[in-house]
Amino acid sequence: MDPLQLVWLVPGLPLIGFLFQAFFGKAIVAKLGDAAGKKVLGFAAVLPVFAGFAITLILWANLPTNTETRAVVATLFDWLSINDIHPLKVPFEFLIDPLSIVMCMIVTGVGGLIHLYATGYMADDKDYPRFFTYFNLFIVFMLTLVLANNLVLMFVGWEGVGLCSYLLIGFWYKNVANAKAANKAFIVNRIGDWGFMLGIFLVFAVFNSVSFYPSGHNLDRSILMEAADRLTNNPGLPMVANPALWIPLLLFVGAMGKSAQGPLYLWLPDAMAGPTPVSALIHAATMVTAGVFMVCRLHIFFELSQIAMLVVACVGAFTAFFAATIAFGQFDIKRVLAYSTVSQLGYMFLACGVGAFGSGMFHVVTHSFFKALLFLGSGAVILAMSHEQDMRKYGNLSKYLPITYRTMFWGWLAIAGIPPLAGFWSKDEILSHTYASGFLHGQGMAVFLYSVGLITAVMTAGYMTRMMKMTFLQTDERWRKLPEPHHHELGPQHEPHEVGRAMTTPLIILALLSIVGGAALAIGPHLFETFTHPSIGLSLMKPTELPGGTEALLIGLSIAGAVIGLVLALRNYKTQPADQGLGVPVRGWRALAEKQWGYDGAMYRTFVTGGGNFATLVWRWIDAGIIDKVLVNGIAKLIETVGVLLRPFQSGFVRGYAFTMLIGVVAIIGWVFLKAVVR
C-alpha cells in the first residue's frame, strides 16, 4: 500500500480524539475522579495530534523526490457531484505536496506542543473535557483546510476553524465580554468569508472546476496555467471586468478576514479573551496564517494581476506598520502579542504581494515557533500572576519564573530579528525580496514598501523589548504593591511560581525551534523555497537578481534595525517611564495607540451603534410606520369603515328588506319604461 494513502489518518486521528472527548469526556472525569480523569483526557487529547505529526513525517518521507511532480492527490470519496450544463465535481480529496506538508507539520507539531501545554494550563478548569473537545476539533478542521485539494473542501475547514475559534474565544462564556469578543470575531470573519465565497464562485464560473490539482497522481498544473494565461491575454475584456483582477481581490478579502489584515484586523486583539493556549494555537500559530496559506496555495491567481499583488503588498505593509504602532500603547501582555501577530501577518502578506510566496510561508513557519513560544510564555506569566494581564502590575518576574523567562528570551530575540535566530532569516528574506520587487511594482514602490518593512522591524524589536522589560526585567516588583486580595492568590509565599513540567516542556522545545528553526531551513541556497517547489515559488515571477553588495547591505540594514530597536527600548524601559505607570492616565500618542488610533471606536460607532440606530429607524418608519400602520392596520381600518357605513342597511327587519327590494324593482321597471317612452 502506498504510504501516501495514509493521509486521511492525519485529520482522522484528531477526529477520533474529538469524538472521544465529546462523548466520554465528562463521564471519564466523573468516573475516575477529577485529577485522574483529567490526566486520561489530556493524554487522549495530545496523543492523536502527535500521532498526526508522526504520520506527516511518514508522508514527507514518501513524497516523490522529483521537484516538478511533488504533488499527490489522495481521493477519499466522491463528495459533491452535480450534473448540469456546467458539471460540478467536488471529490473529498487531500493534496499532499510540500506546502500542505509544511502546514501539517506546524499544525500537528506546534499544535501538539500547545495541546501538551494546555493540559497544564487548563488543569484547574472544570470544563476541561469541553476545552479539549474544541481543541481537537480545531486541529481536525485546520488539517482539512491545509490538506484540501479543492476550494470547497478548503472552505469547509476554513469555516470549521472559524467555528472553533468562536467557541474557544468564548470558552469562559459566563463573562459577557468574552462572549462579545467571540461574536466580534465571528461577525468580522463573515465579511472575509463573503469575499472568499464570491472568489470561489468566480473561480468556478471561469475555470469550471474548484480543484487545485486534478484527481490522480503526479499531475502538473499546466491546465490551470494555460487557462490563467488565456485570461490574462484576453484583450477583449476591459480590466475592471476581468476575472483575473477580481478572483485574487475577492480571495484576498477572505484572507484579510481570517488573517486579521487591513480593515478587518480588529477581531484579533479581542480574540485574546480566550484561554492563552487558544491564543497561541489559533490566533498566532495556525488559524490566522490560513489567509497566508490560501494566498500561497492560490498564488497563480494572484500572479494574474499586478494590481491585486500591489493591493496585497500595500495592505500587508500598512497592517504591519499600523499594528506595530498600536502595540506600543497596550498594557495587556496578550494584547501586545496580538498586535504583534497582526503585524507579523502583515509581513507575510507583504512577502506574498511582492511575489515572494516562499518567503511568506517561511515566515509562517518561523513565526509559528516564536509566537507560539511567546504566547505560551505569557500564559505561564498570567497563570503565575493569578490571571493578571496588565504588564504595569508585573516586574522583575525573571527572578520568579526562570524557565519561562529564559525560553521567552529567545522568542523575544527571534521576533526582533537578531541573527541567527529564526525570525531574522524569514524577515530578512521578506525585506530583501521586497527591495527586489521593482520588476513588479516599480522601483519607487519597492523602496517605499521596503522602508515601511524596515521601520516596522525596528518597531517590532522596540515593542517586544518593552514587553519583556515591563514583565521580566524591571527590578521594581509592582505586584507587591497591589491590594491584598490579589496578593494572596499568589500562593503561600506571596510570590509568583514557575509553572509545571507539562507547560515548561513545550516552552523549551519551542525555544529550541526559535533558535535553530530559521537557520536550519534557510542555510544553503534558498533551501525552504527549493523544498516548497512546485507548490509555491516564483513560477511566473522573474525577480531581478540583487547584486551581492546590495544583498549584504540589506542584511546589514535589517540587523542594524533590530539592534537599534532593541537598544532604544532597553534604554527607555530601564525602569517604567513615569507616564506609563499604574493609575497614571495615558497621554499623548500612546493614548491614541491604546485606542487603536480610534479605528475600533469608529467602527463600533459606525456599525454597531450606527447599525443599531439604522435598525431602529427601519423599525420605526418602515415596519411600524408603513407595514404595520398602512398595510396591516390600514386594511383592517378600511374594511371596518366600509362595514360601519353599510351597517344601517342590515336592519334585520324582513319587511324593510322587502320594501327596499320593491323600490329597486320599481326603479328598474320605471327606468325601462322611461327609456321606451323616450325612444
Partner: protein
C-alpha cells in the same frame, strides 16, 4: 270578450295587494299568502299573454305542425316552485314557533348588522 288590458289590470291590482301585504303584514302566514297572491298575479299575466299573443306555429323537421304552450308551461312551473317554497317556508315557521312560541316577522331580526 274581456280585452287583454282587463286581465293585465286585474293582475296589477292583485300584485299590488300582494306587495302591500308583504310589506305591512307582520304575521308570516299572511306574508306567505300575499306572496302567493303576487305569484298568481304573475301567473295571470302569463296566461293572458299566452292567450292573446300565442306563439307562432312552427314545424318540426318532419313537417308536422307544433304548438308552443310556453306561457302555460311557465305557470305550471311557477305553481310547482310556489308549492315547494311554501313547504320549506312553513317548515321554517314551524321551527321558529316551536323555539319562540310566537311568530312575528319584526321579532326575527337577530341578523341585524
Amino acid at each position: 270578450m274581456v280585452p287583454l288590458s282587463g286581465y293585465l289590470t286585474l293582475s296589477a291590482i292583485l300584485f299590488t295587494i300582494g306587495v302591500i301585504g308583504v310589506i305591512i303584514k307582520r304575521n308570516p302566514i299572511v306574508v306567505f299568502m300575499c306572496i302567493e297572491l303576487m305569484l298568481n298575479a304573475v301567473n295571470l299575466t302569463f296566461l293572458a299573454f299566452a292567450r292573446y299573443h300565442p306563439a307562432p306555429l312552427a314545424h318540426d323537421l318532419a313537417g308536422r305542425t307544433e304548438v308552443y304552450l310556453a306561457g302555460q308551461m311557465y305557470v305550471v312551473f311557477v305553481m310547482a316552485v310556489a308549492a315547494a317554497e311554501v313547504a320549506v317556508g312553513l317548515g321554517i315557521i314551524m321551527a321558529i314557533f316551536r323555539l319562540r312560541k310566537k311568530v312575528d316577522v319584526d321579532d326575527m331580526n337577530i341578523l341585524r348588522g
